[in-house]
């Protein structure tokens, strides 16, 4: 085939361009540390990356949700703990008052302390966390309980339980309502702590029946306490579940990030070697061209 100088330089230019294109790609990869910069570099991997990114973002939001719930449940648990202590103290007082050895003044002292305990219980049930009354449910912007002028514990508007999504499609109710704590069953009869405390205080008073304090009302209080314990264990179960969910979520986060890295990050060693090879090819072609292209017959004819 007849070859002209122009063909040699054309072919050199074309190959040089291919080399430079390769070098540009490798340089982009080394600069960003990623396999691809735009979808057309590698459409399949780019689509996969987008998918994984959106999963990671969703997962991080669920993590925030779970943390919020864990904090809420911790607050709930300590409130319930305090409530338990108050009820235990009331029980103690009832037992000691009801055995008949107290005189009028001592009985009055017990009655006053129990009245105070009613206020304390109302306060505990009005615990707030992050601006919401935790026992108010969806009406958590209003106080769940108040004490009226007769010293009776009254419940305000209580809403439904609050919900949280802890992972895709998994929605759980995580709050405890004041009504769950105050309403209980005693011997298959619906009862209310507010009513019970009102009865106890009345029976400790002058026209009350002191015998009831140590019998029926004590039984009713025991039912109330065991109800509280069951609510508390429910909260405890939730806490465990949330801790488990948090672990799962964080593991998933690590896995997703690992898959993402596998998908889009480059292997520095491999890329550096490839870059080195391409550079060698480039330099070799430059050297060869410089030796072959310049000389022609004119240099040798006198």
């Amino acid at each position: 085939m007849r070859i002209t100088n122009k063909m040699m330089s054309n072919s050199f230019l074309a190959d040089m361009n291919v080399n430079l294109n390769h070098m540009k790609r490798k340089q982009e990869q080394l600069d960003t540390g990623k396999e691809f910069k735009r979808p057309s570099d590698n459409p399949f991997k780019a689509a996969r990356s987008m998918q994984i990114y959106s999963e990671i973002y969703a997962n991080e939001q669920y993590n925030t949700n779970i943390n919020h719930t864990i904090n809420w449940l911790d607050t709930t648990d300590s409130a319930l703990d305090n409530l338990g202590k108050s009820l235990s103290r009331i029980r103690e007082l009832m037992v000691s008052a009801g055995n008949g050895t107290y005189d009028k003044d001592e009985l009055k002292a017990v009655k006053d302390e129990i009245s105070e305990k009613v206020n304390e219980i109302s306060q505990i049930l009005n615990t707030s966390f992050d601006g919401k009354y935790i026992f108010g449910g969806t009406h958590g912007d209003k106080k769940p309980t108040t004490v009226d002028e007769n010293g009776k514990l009254i419940t305000g508007t209580i809403g439904d339980n609050l919900k949280v999504e802890i992972s895709s499609g998994v929605v759980i109710e995580y709050s405890v309502n004041a009504t769950e704590i105050l309403n209980f069953k005693s011997k298959d009869v619906n009862d209310n702590l507010g009513d019970l405390l009102k009865d106890i205080i009345k029976d400790l008073g002058e026209d009350g029946d002191i015998s009831k304090v140590n019998n029926e009302e004590l039984e009713r209080l025991d039912s109330a306490i065991s109800n509280l314990l069951s609510v508390r264990s429910k909260v405890g179960t939730f806490q465990n579940r949330m801790k488990g969910a948090k672990n799962v979520n964080e593991d998933q986060n690590i896995n997703l990030k690992a898959i993402l890295s596998y998908n889009e990050d480059i292997d520095w060693v491999e890329k550096s070697m490839e870059m080195g090879m391409i550079q060698t090819v480039y330099l070799a072609s430059l050297q060869t061209a410089s030796k072959i292209l310049p000389p022609s017959l004119l240099d040798f004819i006198r």
Binding site: S40, A46, A47, M50, Q51, Q61, T138
Partner: protein, 532 residues
């Protein structure tokens, strides 16, 4: 002719012939880098011998018969065809890269990230419905999303505008080329008629034809007197001006309007360029830059349509749930979350129960209901009006729309340009998915696509097409390169070769000159020496 004078004549002819050949060689050498130049060489042939009684035929020297150029016309045909194809692919690759740049994925400042943040904001709001800050985050994040959708839409429309401009500008260049080709063709025919070989003019015409072939595919047939007839692909119009007629053909671009895209037509013009008559049929090239540009109309438009569908799905799905009645000051309001920004910047279509709500919404005019921006407490986040200030269940349902699959791409039930809020609800089973708090939501359709999934599909398709276009360009360049190499091999000038020729002709010239001086000596003997 006979005798010494005859011999001198032979040598003179020899010198002239070698001189001519040298001239051709120097012409070749000076044009070694001229684009489109094909090497010429002088064809020498022995001139007609005379017949003498006795010795028989006697040679009379050499003649330069013609100076021809070495050119393979079949290669020209192949190169022009491949140039058309390459130009088509280059145009496509250029615009697809531009669209890729507009979307700018993957990145953490682009639409996919904002979409995630949008749904995340609703999640956070569902946990803290009483907090003003959480509501602010929702409306502000949504506003960022709509702003980005507006911006992307505008850039895609701008790309479409660039396409139109390029289509118009190509016409100028093409008409220029056609005029030049016509002029050259006339010159060539004149020169050929006079009996000479118009080599350089032929080279110029070939170069112009090569350039024209990158604009659109052409069919060339040779006519007499080295003329050609030039027909654009798919038509029967001869663009070469007949020397008798005083009109010629130009290309015209007619802009599109409404939904019809622009088209090309050939027109007959007079010598000043004024239009005489338009050719009936549209010119629809399928190769060359023009072919590529015409095909891109559909590409760009489909990307714009997809973006519009995305915006509409996000808007209508949120609006459906948000615009269920909310009691504000004892009155039920049905506020849309996403609204439309009209040409003057006013926000309209804010009422979810309004007639044809959502019909005109697209990515270019989507915005947030400005009543909600001013007063985020108007956001409808709870199950109903009685459920309390800490009820964020409706916000949770909206946040869960992230995983909800909608029918977007279907021909009958998909999201289209004129889909209204009511139609969207109907197509996606609104009222069939009711949550436990009594909040109405959509039914998850397993054949559908989630918002994020649909967007990912758009980018994926774009990436695959852009990659294919790049590969296409690389392949076609290689193919064209190999043809051009062959042409260079046939018609290119080799300096070494010309140098050898130089030496050769130089020696021949010197030899002939020597011959003359020898004859001169002989004549001297005859004239001056024979008789004193």
């Amino acid at each position: 002719m006979s005798g010494l004078f005859g011999t001198m004549q032979v040598s003179k002819l020899g010198m002239l012939a070698q001189q001519s050949a040298l001239n051709t060689t120097s012409h070749n050498m000076s044009n070694v880098n001229t684009p489109g130049y094909s090497r010429q060489h002088a064809i020498l042939s022995a001139s007609r011998p005379i017949t003498l009684a006795g010795p028989g035929q006697i040679g009379t020297g050499v003649n330069v018969v013609a100076i021809t150029r070495t050119r393979d016309t079949f290669l020209d045909y192949q190169i022009r065809r491949e140039s058309s194809n390459l130009a088509d692919s280059i145009a496509k690759e250029k615009y697809l890269s531009e669209i890729e740049g507009v979307f700018n994925e993957p990145s953490d400042t682009a639409i996919s990230k904002l979409l995630s943040e949008y749904y995340d904001a609703w999640q956070t709001l569902s946990l803290n419905p009483g907090k003003l800050e959480a509501r602010q985050v929702v409306v502000q994040t949504a506003k960022q999303l709509t702003d980005l959708l507006n911006h992307t839409h505008k850039q895609l429309e701008d790309t479409k505008g660039n396409l139109e401009t390029e289509k118009k500008q190509s016409v100028e260049d093409i008409n220029n080329l056609l005029d030049q080709i016509n002029e050259l063709n006339k010159e060539i025919k004149k020169v050929t008629f006079a009996g000479n070989n118009p080599n350089d003019l032929l080279d110029s015409r070939d170069l112009l034809l090569d350039e024209l072939s990158t604009k659109f595919g052409i069919d060339i047939t040779s006519e007499n007197l080295n003329g050609i007839s030039l027909k654009p692909e798919g038509t029967d119009i001869n663009l070469i001006q007949d020397t008798e007629k005083s009109s010629k053909y130009h290309l015209k671009y007619i802009e599109g309007h409404d939904d019809e895209s622009g088209s090309y037509k050939f027109v007959e013009v007079d010598n000043e360029g004024k239009e005489i008559k338009e050719v009936e049929d549209k010119f629809e090239p399928s190769s060359g830059t023009l072919g590529g540009l015409l095909k891109l109309d559909k590409e760009i438009q489909s990307n714009i349509d997809n973006l519009n569908n995305l915006a509409k799905t996000i808007a209508l799905s949120t609006n459906a749930i948000h615009s269920e009645g909310k009691k504000v000051d004892d009155k039920l309001e049905y506020n849309n979350f996403f609204a439309i920004k009209d040409k003057d910047g006013k926000v309209i279509d804010k009422d979810g129960k309004g007639k044809n709500s959502g019909k005109d919404l697209d990515a270019g005019n989507i915005t947030i209901n400005d009543d909600l921006l001013k007063n985020p407490m108007l956001l409808n986040v709870s199950s109903d009006s009685t459920s309390g200030g800490e009820d964020g269940n409706r916000a949770l349902v909206i946040a869960q729309l992230r995983d909800m699959k909608f029918i977007i791409d279907d021909k009958t039930n998909g999201v289209k340009k004129d889909t209204t809020l009511e139609k969207f609800k109907e197509n996606n089973g609104y009222n069939k998915g009711i949550t436990s708090e009594g909040i109405v939501t959509f039914e998850n359709n397993k054949d559908g696509a989630s918002v994020e999934g649909y967007y990912k599909g758009i980018i994926n398709t774009l990436g695959i097409e852009a990659q294919a276009a790049k590969r296409d360009v690389a392949n076609k360049q290689m193919l064209l390169g190999s043809f051009i190499e062959k042409r260079e091999s046939t018609s290119g000038v080799s300096i070494d070769e010309e140098t050898i020729n130089l030496v050769q002709f130089n020696h021949a010239y010197q030899a002939n000159a020597k011959m003359i001086s020898t004859v001169d000596e002989l004549l001297d003997v005859v004239i001056n020496g024979l008789k004193r």
